[in-house]
């Protein structure tokens, strides 16, 4: 938590006129109850909650625009909220203000199956979307683990296990509707699959974490459900061998859909919790999508490469239940890891490096963390060069928090030295603002601050996140 929490003195209570107008606008959908405020002042980071002064539940883009115009008039912060699964303090109300909960904006507005696009309200979650479009034969692949809202996933430029094949939210948002910091409603792009028409407002909003605009609708790319899916797992003598296997697989052009790494400590944690009896070695989990023949070809290619790198305990599965069993280790990893240190929370790092440096980066990280009193198991989206170190610390013990932050700083510095990024997919929030300067430099940060002022001249949209203005 390298950004210290601001003194509560900076917070001013909402002016009574604002409360009155919010009640008029939102009626029953306005709340100042402690429980509701507390719920909206936290995310899944270990930060203690910092609740907003009020919460409103919006149902339309126009309501959000009305809210923002009211907030501008009274200089009150507005923080968009989906389902609260962000990880870097994105949702904390540093300067108080109003949390606008978008979870009731949960309509799938238009499925355009021929165009492979769908337009949703921001509060639709990815699982809801995939349920609702199942009959179309299409699916939306981005899977960050949590059942996040698509607005939130766009706002944090999320990705997850499928990114190696299907890309991240950066590649999969075709356009979005957002409300600027002046309460204007802007649609960033038409529904054409490509366009060279002016500055890319879509990509600017993707990853802006509620600081440039409140995203209220998103148009996404969809993909045909694969005819065949196969899963495979295998163990390697070293992290290096597992990463080499991944690099060669990608270089050969094998279109793997998922490629996840568990380090030996994570496998041990999973074994302890779920009695899986896996070899306690670095492990790769693959998923293959395609035609039946294509998938068989992919599996054969990967098996051959993996064997050359000393892979053992190779297992593969085609049927849904068998696939789930194989991937059980991955699905349970997070909770299994937490049990390595009961009562702890995970301070989850998120660096991403060029894949040629990944083995070195992970190996050095393991060497570094192995001398720490805190367990730090590793999970990697290894096809992208992105990995998470779940540093387990007791949030009630300042010395453990400081140790977790010390390890995190070293991991980030290592990644930046390897031409990587401090965050592959979790975003900046308030936690990584200083790292952002290390990564991009003063001139880029100045450009970002100017962009922020262009979209939000009064600095009311999620203030204190990403850039200081």
């Amino acid at each position: 938590m390298n950004a210290p929490l601001p003194p509560q003195a900076m917070r001013k209570p909402l002016p009574p006129i604002v409360v009155e107008k919010l009640k008029a606008l939102f009626g029953e959908r306005f709340s100042t109850s402690d429980a509701v405020r507390d719920h909206h002042g936290r995310d899944e980071s270990p930060y203690p909650p910092l609740p907003p002064d009020a919460v409103v539940f919006a149902r339309t883009t126009e309501e959000v625009a009305d809210l923002v115009r009211l907030a501008v008039d009274h200089r009150v912060p507005v923080i968009p909220y989906g389902v609260g699964t962000s990880l870097e303090g994105h949702l904390l109300a540093l300067e108080g203000g109003i949390s606008v909960d978008l979870s009731q904006m949960n309509a799938v507005l238009a499925v355009n199956a021929e165009d492979l696009t769908v337009t949703v309200q921001a509060g639709v979650t990815r699982k809801q979307l995939n349920n609702e479009i199942k009959a179309s034969g299409l699916f939306f692949p981005i899977d960050p683990g949590a059942d996040a809202t698509l607005g939130g996933m766009a706002a944090t430029r999320a990705s997850g296990t499928n990114a190696v094949r299907y890309g991240t939210m950066r590649e999969n948002v075709l356009g979005l509707t957002f409300v600027t910091g002046e309460g204007r409603i802007v649609r960033s792009a038409r529904r054409a699959r490509k366009s060279s028409a002016g500055y890319d407002l879509t990509r600017l909003l993707v990853g802006s974490e509620g600081t440039l605009g409140i995203i209220t609708e998103v148009t996404l790319k969809l993909y045909p459900q694969p005819e065949a899916i196969s899963a495979a797992t295998c163990s390697f003598p070293t992290v290096e061998a597992a990463v080499r296997t991944t690099i060669e697989t990608i270089q050969m052009g094998v279109p793997i859909a998922r490629c996840e790494l568990l380090d030996a400590l994570t496998v041990k944690a999973v074994n302890a919790r779920n009695k899986l009896g896996l070899p306690e070695l670095p492990m790769l989990l693959f998923e293959f999508h395609g035609s039946p023949a294509g998938v068989a070809e992919q599996v054969a290619a990967v098996q051959a490469i993996a064997r050359e790198h000393g892979a053992a305990a190779f297992q593969w599965a085609n049927q849904p239940e068998e696939r789930s069993r194989l991937w059980e280790a991955r699905h349970n990893a997070y909770f299994a890891c937490l049990q390595l240190k009961p009562g702890s929370r995970s301070f989850t790092t998120d660096v991403c490096v060029p894949i040629s440096r990944l083995a070195e980066c992970i190996t050095e990280t393991i060497r570094d963390t192995s001398t720490s009193p805190l367990p730090a198991p590793i999970l990697g989206h290894v096809g992208d060069g992105n990995f998470h170190c779940a540093i387990l610390a007791d949030p009630g013990r300042p010395e453990e928090i400081e140790e977790a932050e010390r390890l995190n700083r070293r991991i980030v510095a290592r990644a930046l030295a390897m031409d990587g990024t401090c965050t592959g997919e979790h975003g900046v929030g308030m936690h990584k603002m200083d790292f952002l300067r290390d990564e991009h430099g003063d001139d880029a940060l100045e450009l970002m601050a100017r962009i922020k002022r262009s979209f939000d001249p009064q600095n009311i949209l999620n203030p204190g996140k990403i850039v200081r203005v």
Copy 2:
């Protein structure tokens, strides 16, 4: 040419002190000769040239930064120049100033084969790049037809025939180095494959057409050279049948690499010039990349779909020479079309619509243009919903120019009404500035103008293009 050319009275000659300093900075690489200036004041649009006051040939990013700082001090426009293949008046020196030619910045700086990335100076052309990296087993797929520079392709968000599978420059630029309108050197991103670290400066520069920064280096994604490549062509009774074939192919998840449409008039033009004897009907050309078995599977799938839609004259080829022969119609189409009206130039439209509307859009366009005195053959990147209508007019006859613009306005209006864009890949330049407002609306244009001022407070970078400030 809906943006009228400004009166030459707006142009002020370069102050003598600037000339002196440019000579000191660039020596022999500074020119004010008429031939050099004329060459740098035009692109491949039918606009008459508007030469800059001087041309410099830069060799380093630092030189470009020095140039921009000098230009800021004296409020002189700076227009970046690659090889001059843009199509919308991007390079015309509306207010005079200095053209900075980047073609001598043509070094491939780093091939990172394991990461599937390459970093090049902005003046490297795509063909040069593919020649230089051939031995690595990798290639760069984006192919806009012309052998453009990679800096120019990034600046116009170019795409072309391979975009249906590999995406556009938007998806394939990992990061870039640019010089801001204040002469600061900024690197937009590290070399990680994904990142959520702050606002997406990379995507903001991609498509900014020299108005936000001068791109001097680009880091690109590379792909493994496909093990097998196959090409196919076939003819259809109607445009509708050809587009339906494309839609169903994509919906089935067949990973076609290229899918191009020639309308009947274009086929007729090609037959007339190259004696190919093709049926004078709408025609699709495909290219398939993958493993030998995978490619065979793709070809079979597409053949089956095409036959259901009445395809005839199906031909396919695996060997390079045979493939080239099949694609001859496509490669020669532009010049063949020009011969439909000797002495004409092509006023090339570039709309892109959701593919579900494409058949309707093309069919209505053909109906519309068929009553015009100007021939208007059509070429389409049909997998993306993007097509070009090459309206052939004599640039010396104002009534023909006006007719071409009238047809273009109707094509753009039709595309916008179908939720499409005025430009799929050619960019805005000076030609489409009014369309940009129709497409995005006043609020989005205001945001774009603020972004422009953030990056270029003095409005010296390619002024008068994309947005008015």
